[in-house]
């Protein structure tokens, strides 16, 4: 039982209201309500729109997850929630719900890190996470290279973007090409029919003096936009498929090259890729190719587990329970810039005892 904890996880760091339920490393439910359509006309996530949507979707989504998992809330061993990083107001809705739910049910609460959750979710797909694991997290909000030796206590930042997230670059280029929002899936689709070598777009931060593991996509974004604008100014047709394929190639080339380099340098033979951009078919293919060549085992969860969801939070929460990590206090706050080096937010030792004394009182008899 102790190593197969039943945990419900809540995720509201961006525009998805996610509630997942896991038993140890087994996925039981993954309910997600997305407000992405409400943001589409704004061309990006509007924090207040996301927060409002979380409040409305939370209770129905918890209900749906419990039904899907076929478990009773009383049997849960803990409630986990994304404490950060993310949009402050959006995070707070989830943290408020998780605290109230844990308190009312008399369960321990685990405020966990969104990025560590993106890594830990792979346990639901491929079993226990190898230690150490290199992780490449890429989405509209993050582009990070992380090394984890223990996902509950030791996650080290190797590198990250110095400007835009990879997903943001996809959104921007999709907008320049008039392809709508979000940009990731649609660029991927067009790119499949295009030539990735048609246009030589720049690879950011790949010079000999550049930081080895950091990323930059801002220059690429500008270069692609300028290329398109030059075509338009000359009255020529823009070869959308070739632009999409060449732009996408520039992004995934840098991402995979640096991830494999980090694995080699650190002597790590497992690479996991997570985050929304991990759904990109070319990223998956190129990572597979390069990992094989380097003797690295690649782990990429199915796309639905790569995008933001509650199951990833539950997965990390279950690991916290299994490894006996300290629960969070009832005054847990949402921390929009929670450092990646904090996989969870443990309560202070003194208050912690007090909290559990109190919460036991609230257990159903």
């Amino acid at each position: 039982m102790a190593d197969e904890p039943l945990v419900l996880g809540i995720e509201t760091s961006c525009d998805e209201t996610g509630v997942g339920i896991v038993r140890g490393t087994t996925l039981l439910a993954d309910a997600v309500a997305s407000s992405v359509d409400e943001h589409a006309r704004f061309g990006g996530v509007v924090p207040e729109v996301a927060s409002r949507a979380h409040l409305e979707a939370m209770v129905p989504t918890i209900d749906r997850a419990l039904k899907e998992a076929g478990v009773s809330a009383r049997d849960l061993d803990g409630i986990a929630v994304t404490a950060g990083p993310g949009l402050a107001g959006a995070l707070l809705v989830g943290v408020s719900a998780a605290k109230a739910y844990a308190y009312a049910l008399g369960k321990p609460l685990y405020g966990v890190n969104h990025l560590a959750s993106h890594i830990c979710v792979d346990q639901l797909e491929h079993g226990a996470l190898p230690e150490p694991t290199m992780a490449l997290l890429v989405s509209g909000g993050h582009s990070s290279l992380l090394l984890s030796t223990d996902i509950t206590s030791d996650v080290r930042p190797m590198g990250s973007t110095i400007d835009d997230a990879a997903g943001e670059a996809f959104d921007k280029i999709a907008r320049v090409l008039d392809l709508g929002f979000p940009g990731g899936p649609v660029i991927d689709r067009y790119a499949r029919e295009g030539d990735p070598d048609a246009i030589a777009f720049p690879r950011g931060l790949t010079g000999p003096r550049d930081p080895v593991y950091d990323f930059s996509f801002s220059g690429l974004k500008t270069a692609v936009a300028r290329w398109i604008e030059a075509r338009r100014a000359a009255g020529e047709e823009v070869p959308v498929r070739d632009v999409a394929a060449s732009f996408q190639e520039a992004v995934v080339d840098v991402l995979t090259r640096k991830a494999v380099r980090a694995c080699r340098d650190e002597g790590v033979d497992h690479l996991m890729i997570g985050g929304g951009v991990a759904a990109n078919s070319r990223l998956r293919a190129l990572a597979q190719e390069r990992c094989e060549a380097a003797g690295i085992r690649l782990r990429v969860p199915r796309p639905k587990l790569c995008t933001d969801n509650g199951a990833m939070v539950a997965s990390l929460g279950a690991e916290m329970v299994a490894r006996g990590r300290a629960a969070s206090d009832w005054d847990l706050s949402a921390d929009s810039s929670l450092p990646v080096t904090d996989p969870h937010v443990p309560g202070t030792a003194h208050d912690h005892d007090h909290v559990h004394e109190v919460s036991k009182e609230n257990l159903y008899s």
Partner: protein, 217 residues
Amino acid sequence: MLLLALDTATPAVTVALHDGTDVVASSSQVDARRHGELLLPAVDRVLAEAGTRLDAVTGIVVGIGPGPYTGLRVGLMTADTFGLALGVPVHGLCTLDGLAYASDLDVPFVVATDARRKEVYWARYADSRTRVTDPAVDRPAEIADAVAGLPAVGAGALLYPDTFPKAHEPEHVSAAALASLAVRKLAAGEELPPPRPLYLRRPDAQVPKNYKVVTPK
């Protein structure tokens, strides 16, 4: 009956427990930036003070604002989730009505809270139990005529003495008043509003006209 009342629509994080006759325990802290941290410990304290547990609660009432959104949602989300976990009804109540009830006035008056951005959330009352206008959000100068000569309560009134020269306490809502009002309304067979937020403003968001051209002119 044991009613748990919460309100986070003003700078006050306020919790009270009402047994149908009296308020048996309550807590109010004023800290506009820490609603999320303070609310759950306050609930825990109030229950402990009353010597009871959350699963003894038979109903919940929550202030639905209007109020600054981020704080407002803390109370609503907490109430919603308590309701789900406990299987008890969750009622809403306009936060301005709670403030009005606490004023104990039996003459026409105004309630105004701070809506930030130089605006107030406000409504007019015939007496402490009778609201006569829908809650609205406006700049104080724009409603000066509508509230002229009336006494006023709430932080929004105290903040703008030019518009509300007869402003006085209470400054913030108390869950104790909210609970007492809810008990009174429920006893009278009145239906309370659902626990959904009164935002009164649309989210700030601009539909981008076009992408920014990067080619230098």
